[in-house]
């Protein structure tokens, strides 16, 4: 067995679903997302030897993906109205309830500065400190964005937040 391919297969191909999800929610377009993932894997394959820590495979791929995204898609980011409702409804095989649909629409409508830290945390498995470093933000700014992202999304399901007195939210927006 050629070890380079085995390594690539086991470490990188196995996390492709997550990498695609990250790409999808980053550019909110399945075609761009696939292009982005293809580009990412091509680059990863070329520079596989620079991946020193196998545990960091997904993080590494997402880092490459973010760079590609910044390079190729920054200027022609699709408007959220472009997001195909069909896509948001999913391709079947998983939860297609109206609740999931509205949550997906809310995710698609989330401004990128809120969406990205959330994607990094939920899909990428990054810690708040890692997110802060990658986005060049202060840890408290990352916390604020994570807080607001989840609060916004929860409102979609639950209505305005009953659990969180306004003072906490306001208090936190200052940091």
């Amino acid at each position: 067995m050629q070890s380079r391919e085995v390594r690539f297969q086991a470490l990188l191909m196995s996390v492709m679903a997550d990498v695609y999800r990250y790409a999808f929610w980053l550019c909110r377009d399945p075609h761009h997302a696939e292009e982005l993932v293809q580009e990412t894997y091509l680059r990863a394959w070329r520079s596989l030897d620079s991946l020193k820590d196998d545990k960091a495979a997904k993080t590494w791929l997402i880092t490459i993906l973010r760079r590609e995204h910044a390079r190729c898609f920054e200027r022609n980011r699709p408007d959220i109205s472009d997001v195909d409702p069909e896509v948001l409804a999913g391709h079947g095989g998983y939860d297609t309830s109206t609740e999931a649909f509205s949550l997906r629409r809310a995710l698609a409508a989330l401004p990128e500065e809120y969406a990205e830290p959330l994607l990094m945390q939920v899909i990428g498995g990054y810690t708040a400190e890692e997110i802060a470093r990658l986005l060049e933000l202060s840890p408290s700014a990352v916390n604020t964005r994570l807080f607001r992202a989840r609060s916004k999304l929860r409102e979609v399901l639950d209505g305005p937040d009953r659990d969180m007195p306004a003072t906490v939210q306001a208090d936190h927006e200052l940091s």
């Binding site: 086991a10 293809q38 989840r150």
Partner: protein, 269 residues
């Protein structure tokens, strides 16, 4: 920690827990309920984020990578073929098959296994770097049978005691196999029914947890393929006339064990 701080921290990272968080949850039923709702929300959020990959994307990526990879030269093809089907036949092997130690580091005569034209053609196909993409469907059944067996044979992953060398050798010898190099501490070795076939079921103690290695001598696969199922990551590799499945919870453990096993495993039959 007060309730506001608790809820702020929990909203920022619902997976985060620590002694302070746990302590507050215990003494504050309202925040405990809040945490539960947040957990439920987080589950829905993950589901909402879980969009499916476009059909055929993995294959398209595989094809692009293939185009990127230099064409196999005669020499490298030879090397690939050899590593895929090589069978080393140590001199006087039969008498020593149960004593692995005795042929470690011994001089051996390496003979290229006879390759029929058909086998060579089939292997050339398998080796054509098609290894990149998971082939849809074809071995999905086998991967699932392997995972199902791992879940069924519960004691395999629980056993901690190291299997004695002779027991390991005997298990492998049943199928005419032996290990030429050490593959690490083996904590389970048995002959098991996997789906509708027989296999040698091993568990190797890895750095990040146990790694299951199931050799299926009678179940050929065309090419290497990665799979994920039920929280496991696995590789299914062609080996001799059959296949080897290497399965663990951590992908990096799979890669390193697969490498070791494919380097160490030999067939004498």
């Amino acid at each position: 920690m007060n309730c506001l701080e608790f809820r702020r921290r929990f909203t920022i990272d619902p997976s985060g827990n620590g002694p302070e968080i746990a302590a507050h949850r215990q003494q504050c039923p309202a925040c405990d309920r809040f945490a539960e709702r947040m957990g439920e929300f987080e589950k829905r959020l993950r589901q909402a984020m879980a969009v499916d990959m476009p059909e055929g994307m993995a294959e398209r990526i595989g094809r692009r990578l293939e185009a990127e990879t230099p064409k196999l030269t005669e020499e490298s093809l030879d090397r690939h073929l050899e590593s895929a089907v090589r069978v080393d036949v140590p001199e006087g092997l039969a008498g020593r098959i149960l004593l692995r130690h005795s042929f470690e580091r011994q001089r051996r005569v390496r003979r290229r296994w006879y390759l029929s034209a058909a086998l060579a053609a089939g292997l050339a196909l398998a080796v054509g770097l098609s290894i990149f993409w998971p082939s849809p469907g074809s071995h999905g059944g086998l991967a699932h049978q392997v995972v199902a067996h791992i879940e069924e044979d519960t004691q395999a992953l629980l056993s901690r005691a190291q299997v004695r060398d002779f027991a390991l050798s005997a298990t492998l010898a049943t199928f005419g196999m032996y290990l030429e190099e050490d593959i690490g501490s083996v904590t389970y070795a048995g002959i098991c029914e996997v789906g509708t076939t027989l296999g040698a079921h091993l568990v190797v103690a890895g750095e990040s947890g146990p790694v299951t290695v199931i050799v299926l001598p009678y179940k050929p696969v065309q090419r290497a393929r990665a799979f994920q199922a039920d929280g496991y990551t696995g590789l299914l590799l062609p080996a001799h006339h059959g296949s080897v499945a290497v399965v663990a919870q951590h992908p990096q453990a799979v890669a390193s064990t697969a490498r070791r096993v494919s380097e160490a495993l030999r067939w004498s039959l």
